[in-house]
């Protein structure tokens, strides 16, 4: 029996894996067999780990030869296992944490809201199961598709992809519209079926709490609402070492009513959790990098033709002639054309002068300074981005619209509707952008205010989107100055004063961001503490892996170089004809892989080109070596077939220890 069971398992697994390779119907059997093997190997690892501890502890306690190595092995094993298993210091998975939301447990069966739309679930023989994300919540009853909970965007996508017919997609759209929280709570309230958690975004007000509690008399619901309210009242605060120049308590409340700031004590407070958008808004309280001005804003706006919309084409400005005058630090700022036309950039001039006043600069640093400035954003780029955002895009029809067309008898349904009309920037708005760009400090909210004033009742939605997308890629002025500092240092030395001038703003910005990050971390309610990767960057396991394990294994691997040399020395001794042939071939191949080989025989004429070492190397490797390798491979393949066959059929049982039956 002890032998029969392994033989039966071997036979069944062998046949299943063979069948899975050739029959699509049995692919899943093969996968299942492999999964079973992995499970078995995982269980066997317990045996292995136990054996390792047993063997080495025995050596340590008996103080046998090499017991110190065993002690190191045991300690390393236990420490690595511990930090890996408990995921010590590993942050939770960001995509599961739902930043800015508080969670409270509500069992799915006690969730008080169900929604239904008339229709049928399109279960088929090939797809008997609904998508996993909605399987627990979606059901069929009395000709209605019933959904318990509020449909999340990912659930809607899964359902849309589940079946492609218009009728089903329309049903999903109707369900997605119906299965939502009431209007006052849309975007704030959600229900996640996997952890069975009710989630609230931000801090709940007493009025919101009363409204939510009135929705259902269920105890589970009311206690969850109470828990969410409590979580939303938790105060968190940090003391910021520095604060942005324009940051005030009003500014903080503008970002979120739950935020507060005390300028005297520099305390930054938040009630409840902080969302990623709030964190981002808090961090972006510093002026944006200044643009490369290509024309005098006053002149440009004055000469703007009334009829045109926006001067969208890049200007004819030719970026510059050299600003370097010999090797001295005297430089001429702005291009020659700019100077002649009076279009000098005062901020660039100011920055350069300020740097010069605090120490000498080399000609190379002057070049770097100009190159840095040439890379800065321009007003023309911004205007072009806004123009692109204003180009009308085709509207996409909903499935219900297309279904209605189908029912009306439309033979060729188009998924795309008519183009939206183009939206353009008004000349006053373009002028406002130019004026803003020439101002002393560039804050995006100032620009948005000015654009709203000059919109003439036009919806600024596309402009706002374009501006946010554009400035998302533009650094702050402090970051730009830090980059300039690094570039200048690469080109030459800077004095302490120059470095301080370039880096002081960035230091303050970094301190503020660190404080905001700390506030974000403290205000966050961790949902799944063990969801992160055990080897996440910065975790103790990662440190062990990166700074102990990797160097040690690299050391072992590096030994190979020396072993190759010693083995080659022994193998290539020309003791007989075969060994001499091997030596000669190896010499040619080795030489052909180096530059020396090419140089040595490069003089050979073209008609003797095949004798060049690199050509001979290719010949040996592609013809002789490949032929030999393939012969071995064919033999191996046939050996594997025969061995596998004998093992599957139980003819060869020697791996069980004996061929005896």
């Amino acid at each position: 029996m002890k032998r029969t069971i392994p033989l039966v398992i071997t036979f069944v697994c062998g046949v299943v894996l063979l069948a899975a390779h050739f029959s699509p119907y049995t692919h899943r059997w093969g996968e299942a067999a492999m999964i079973w093997f992995d499970i078995l190997a995982s269980i066997a690892f317990l045996l292995g780990g136990g054996n390792l501890l047993k063997v080495h502890l025995k050596k340590v306690f008996a103080q046998q030869a090499g017991w110190a190595y065993s002690l190191i092995t045991v300690v390393a094993f236990v420490v690595t296992l511990w930090v890996g298993l408990v995921k010590w210091g590993a942050p939770p998975a960001a995509h599961l944490e739902h930043y800015g939301e508080s969670f409270a447990h509500v069992p799915l069966e006690e969730f008080p809201f169900t929604y239904s739309v008339p229709g049928q679930l399109p279960k088929t023989a090939e797809r008997p199961l609904l998508p996993a994300s909605v399987r627990a919540q979606l059901s069929q009853a009395d000709g209605q598709v019933v959904f318990r909970g509020w449909l999340l965007p990912n659930q809607k996508s899964d359902l849309l992809a589940y079946h492609p017919t218009l009728a089903w997609r329309c049903l999903v759209e109707q369900l997605a519209k119906a299965a939502q929280p009431s209007a006052g709570f849309r975007g704030k309230l959600a229900y996640y079926p996997e952890p069975q958690a009710l989630a609230f975004r931000g801090s709940m007000t007493p009025q919101e709490r009363a409204e939510l509690e009135a929705l259902s008399p269920s105890d589970a619901w009311r206690s969850a609402v109470a828990a969410l309210y409590e979580a939303g009242q938790r105060q968190t605060e940090v003391v910021a070492p520095t604060a942005p120049e324009r940051f005030t308590p009003e500014q903080a409340r503008k970002i979120s009513p739950a935020l507060d700031y005390d300028p005297a004590s520099r305390r930054l407070q938040i009630r409840g959790p902080m969302s990623l958008s709030e964190r981002q808004a808090l961090e972006q309280q510093f002026p944006l990098a200044r643009p490369k001005l290509t024309a005098d804003p006053a002149l440009t706006s004055a000469h703007q033709p009334e009829s045109s919309t926006v001067p969208l084409r890049p200007s004819a400005h030719q970026p510059g002639t050299s600003i370097v005058q010999g090797e001295s630090s005297t430089v001429q700022l702005g291009t020659a054309n700019d100077q002649q036309r009076g279009f000098a950039d005062p901020y660039r001039h100011h920055l350069w002068k300020a740097l010069e006043d605090q120490g000498p600069l080399t000609a190379k640093q002057a070049e770097v300074f100009q190159a840095h400035w040439e890379r800065r954003w321009t007003v023309e780029q911004l205007l072009e981005a806004i123009r692109m955002a204003g180009v009308g895009e085709p509207t996409e029809k909903t499935a219900c619209q297309m279904l209605a067309e189908k029912e009306q008898g439309v033979a060729d349904i188009q998924p795309i509707g008519p183009l939206e009309p183009d939206q353009t920037l008004r000349p006053e708005q373009a002028a406002a952008i130019r004026t803003w760009a020439a101002g002393p400090n560039l804050y995006l909210e100032d620009l948005l205010e000015q654009l709203a004033k000059t919109s003439g009742g036009q919806s600024p939605g596309f402009i706002q989107t374009a501006l946010q997308n554009f400035f998302h890629q533009v650094p702050t002025e402090a970051e730009a100055k830090k980059t300039l500092c690094v570039e200048l240092l690469r080109a030459g030395p800077l004095t302490e004063a120059q470095r301080e001038f370039l880096l002081a703003d960035y230091r303050a910005e970094w301190a503020w961001r660190t404080a905001v990050g700390e506030l974000f971390r403290q205000a966050h309610q961790v949902k799944f503490p063990w969801s992160g990767q055990y080897n996440a960057a910065g975790s103790p396991f990662w440190w062990i892996y990166e700074y102990m394990f990797k160097p040690l294994t690299a050391t072992m691997f590096a030994l190979l170089a020396f072993y190759v040399a010693s083995a080659a020395f022994r193998a290539f001794r020309a003791k007989n004809v075969e060994a001499a042939l091997l030596l000669g071939t190896a010499f040619v191949v080795l030489l052909g892989r180096t530059a020396a080989g090419t140089v040595l025989t490069g003089w050979l004429p073209d008609w003797l080109g095949w004798l060049r070492v690199e050509e001979l190397t290719v010949l040996i490797m592609t013809i002789f070596n490949t032929a030999g390798t393939r012969a071995i491979m064919i033999g191996i393949a046939l050996g594997i077939v025969a061995t596998s066959l004998k093992i599957i059929l139980g003819m060869d049982r020697s791996y069980l220890g004996s061929a005896e039956k």
Binding site: L166, G635, L638, T643, S658, A659
Partner: protein, 450 residues
Amino acid sequence: MFSRQRGCLVRKKSPLAAAGEGGLRSRSGEGASSSFFLLWAVWVGLLSGIAFPACSGAMEAARRGADPGETHLLLLPPSELEALDAPWDDGSRLLLCWPLQTADTPDAKPLREFRIFQAAEPCGPWQPVAAVEPKPKDIRRGRMEYLVDRCEPGREYYFRLTAVWADGGQSTPVMAGPVRPVRQMFDGSRAWLAGFVVLVSGLVLWSIQRARSGRPVHVRRIAGLEAVDEAIGRATEMGRPCVFIAGIQDMNDIQTIAGLTILGRVAETSARYAARVEVPTCRSLVMTAARDTVQAAYLAAGRPEAYRPEDIYYVTDEQFGYVAYVTGQMVRQRPAACFYMGAFFAESLILAETGNSIGAIQVAGTAMPSQLPFFVAACDYTLIGEEFFAASAYLSGQPDQLGALWGQDMGKLLAGCLILVGSVLATLAAATGWEWLADWTHFLQNTLLQ
């Protein structure tokens, strides 16, 4: 030549099938063995039947009307589109075919491309699938085919085809559907592989049967396996242990199993000589399997009391961690014999050179071609590729096991014949420029041996 199947014509016989039949005739009446070749020939015939459906009806007429010499592509708009389930697949593919009709009428226009769209319903909305251009071969055949992949088995699909003319205009679309991809029992793309597996397995089984019937089997001497006894004897004389390493892969690797087979023999000999065998393993499962193997070997040698399970132990899964431990142990213990039997990678030379430096007699066997030179350079004996797999049969000395080796040789003969035929065909195709020879070479290379 063609028979109708599900509205399409299926090619029944190819030149290869004819060759298969020829082979069958020539071998008829050769006794019991011919029945196997008969089966093989039938299989070949069946394989040639697993061809993609060809276009029917008007398409066949269009094929006859197409001028093979046509180079300036003036085509009529596509008149029909056929959508079929791609046969012998996992249900993820559908086959579209449509005629290419050339004409001298004003309706014929120069073509830029065909555009294919798919939808779940006949009224749309239509999603673009591909834009394809006909190849010269398609024009000669008078039809075009396109394989739509990534379909979902059982789901209904509709297709629409439009010709886009060189001037940017488009033809009236033609439609096909509904069609459902169906998952078949057998994956036709692996038919030839299945054929070869069946053939080689059949040869091995037949040769085993042949050996069992008493026919003598001659196996050449394999020095590496002969040296096993010598190595263990030396270890016994020196009073030092032997080290056996079964590679660094798990039990799902055939080389590990082959290694354990040899371990059984090594352990049995060691038990007889009262030598100690140490087996540090890189995987837990290998450790448990190796313990069973060694225990059974000690039992077979009549010395079960000498079995020491603590000599077979797990080290680590990490490649270089394992190497560090084993080489350290080798340097400290100085074993008299080292056996490396299994799947090895970069660690092969580190292990073998360390063994060499301590003066151990070393026998290696692996089926990793890239590691063979290292073992050849550093070990006393090396089992190269198939010798490694033949070890079990060689060491057992049983006729049925040895018979399998003869079957393997038959497989090698078949491989040699295919190489020869392929080389001759490729040479002739290149020398003569005959297209049919090139087609046969292509078939051999990309279908038969894929």
